[in-house]
């Protein structure tokens, strides 16, 4: 069982949360100048790293706020929690 530190509520068990997938995806635009390939990249293509993964999580059964998590997909260790709109911390093994 993971323990995740919600920036608003503090440390809670993972069953209160839901992972919302890769963080820092930017919607391409303007919409009428976006190719099918770019839409496919935005909608479906993901980094899927083996190592540090930057993800959005929501405290679904708590404050319902979204935030970002840097988590290892190999050990499930949570390396950092940071707010929406913030840049990810510099971590060893991060792709971006």
């Amino acid at each position: 069982m993971l323990q995740i530190s919600c920036p608003y509520c503090g440390a809670r068990a993972e069953i209160e949360f839901r992972c919302g997938g890769q963080a820092h995806l930017e919607r391409p635009g303007p919409h009428d100048q976006v190719s099918d390939r770019q839409w496919a990249e935005y909608l479906f293509y993901r980094d899927n790293p083996k190592g540090v993964s930057l993800e959005r999580w929501v405290h679904r059964f708590g404050c319902r706020q979204w935030f970002n998590v840097a988590r290892s997909t190999l050990t499930h260790e949570i390396l950092a929690v940071y707010g929406m709109g913030e840049q990810p911390p510099q971590l060893e093994g991060t792709k971006r």
Partner: protein
């Protein structure tokens, strides 16, 4: 060393060979396959020694006459998802493309023991998909109609009939069993035997099976692959075929492209062995649970994926707890049974729960990925179609709709919604 072995070693499995070796103190059995060392060059290199990779090698050698082939496996064959899945075989899909492919695979399974001369213990014990509410019943009606239109066997039964066929179901479950969809041709097989049987049959046709050999990079010249780098040396080849399930994104990154895949842990568990109590496979989508009983007597239990990306081959506790709760509601008599083992495999999930079997952005590099939680049932069909793809450099008609292009054209085959199951 195996090349010097006497030719009279017993390689064919039959009742007669069993009898002969019984009188021979079992001393004449040949190893089922050679643990080969990698050569410097091959016509094709398959990465991944699971069911998919080994089946691909077998059909390349048997159907397409390519025998200078290596299967590279970073661990031991069948040690990944092939050895970790719950061995359910079925073809109860919704869309015509999926039904045609999965039923082709099921038909290959039906003849596989004879084809491979290796008992895969395929048991067509039937696969039940049960509904617990009016909407679930409507979805089963829809699924049965789709299956029949697609030429796949399907039967719809009411709750009383389900209970009659599976008497150990709870008399008063919290969520009543209102109907069940039965695919009689569905069932289970012995997962290790799939890997070992294909390995043995491929090896007998000259395929090199190389274990403990991890791919660390690709040689790509002008957009075409020319070789692979491994922990056991570089290998020249013009054709490289990925069959690495949850690690596909990692190898794609080594080759310089991304994929529409997210890797998740899918866990399963078995109970302590008991005498036969359950002679079929039962799936409850509402509970998110499926269960069968192995020949050893263990209850084999599976459920949905752990809902965050993972490359750790272990499951989390909440999903296991949820799974156990579903099993106990359906079968209260199992409540005192103990889990014997629990584990997870890393599955490669695509957005529409349909795989890719076809070409990649790199010339000579082929993709077999995106099977998500349902790759086991596809092993023979995918092996055959993937071998066709590699040999002819174009997708097999059955898997042509399963291309990467669909994410750009929008022609998704959305079995996640269509079949109402995670895979």
């Amino acid at each position: 060393m195996f090349l010097q072995e006497p030719k009279d070693l017993t390689r064919h499995y039959s009742a007669a060979s069993l009898l002969r070796e019984g009188f021979n103190k079992q001393k004449g059995w040949a190893p089922a396959w050679r643990d080969a060392a990698p050569k410097a060059e091959y016509d094709a290199v398959i990465i991944g020694g699971g069911g998919h990779g080994l089946a691909t090698a077998y059909y390349l050698a048997k159907e397409f006459g390519m025998t200078r082939i290596a299967v590279l496996e970073k661990g031991w064959i069948g040690g990944g998802n092939t050895g970790r899945n719950t061995t359910v075989i079925r073809s109860n899909y919704f869309f015509p493309e999926s039904a045609a492919f999965y039923d082709f695979s099921l038909k290959l399974y039906e003849g596989l023991t004879r084809d491979l001369n290796y008992n895969i213990m395929f048991s067509q014990r039937g696969m039940w998909n049960i509904a617990h509410d009016r909407h679930g019943v409507e979805m089963l009606h829809r699924a049965v109609n789709a299956m029949l239109l697609n030429g796949v066997d399907a039967e719809l039964h009411d709750g009383a009939e389900v209970k009659r066929r599976i008497p150990i179901l709870s008399d008063a479950p919290r969520y009543p069993v209102m109907a069940g969809l039965l695919q009689k041709r569905g069932g289970t097989a012995r997962h290790d035997a799939i890997a070992w049987g294909y390995a043995r049959a491929a090896d007998m046709r000259g395929v090199d099976i190389v274990q403990n050999c991890e791919v660390t990079g690709f040689d790509i010249v002008d957009g075409a692959v020319t070789g692979v780098r491994t922990t056991r040396g570089d290998i020249k080849t013009g054709k490289v075929a990925l069959a690495v399930a949850g690690n596909t994104s990692v190898l794609a990154e080594l080759a310089g492209f991304r994929l529409p895949i997210i890797s998740y842990a899918l866990q399963a568990c078995v109970s302590e062995p008991v005498k036969p109590v359950l002679d079929t496979v039962l799936l409850s989508i509402s509970h998110g649970v499926y269960i069968s009983q192995s020949d050893k007597g263990e209850l084999v239990i599976g459920s949905a994926i752990d809902l965050y990306p993972s490359y750790a081959q272990r499951g989390n506790l909440p999903v296991m707890e949820h799974t156990a709760a579903g099993v106990v509601d359906l079968f209260p008599r199992f409540s005192r049974m103990r889990f014997l083992r629990q584990w997870a495999g890393i599955v490669d999930v695509m957005h529409d729960s349909t795989p890719v079997v076809g070409l990649s952005p790199v010339k000579g590099l082929y993709l077999n990925c995106g099977w998500g939680t349902g790759g086991f049932k596809a092993i023979p069909g995918a092996g055959f179609c993937y071998a066709h793809t590699i040999a002819k450099n174009e997708p097999h008609p059955l898997t042509a709709p399963f291309s990467l292009k669909r994410f750009e054209t929008g022609a998704l085959i959305d079995e996640a919604a269509g079949a109402g199951i995670a895979h």
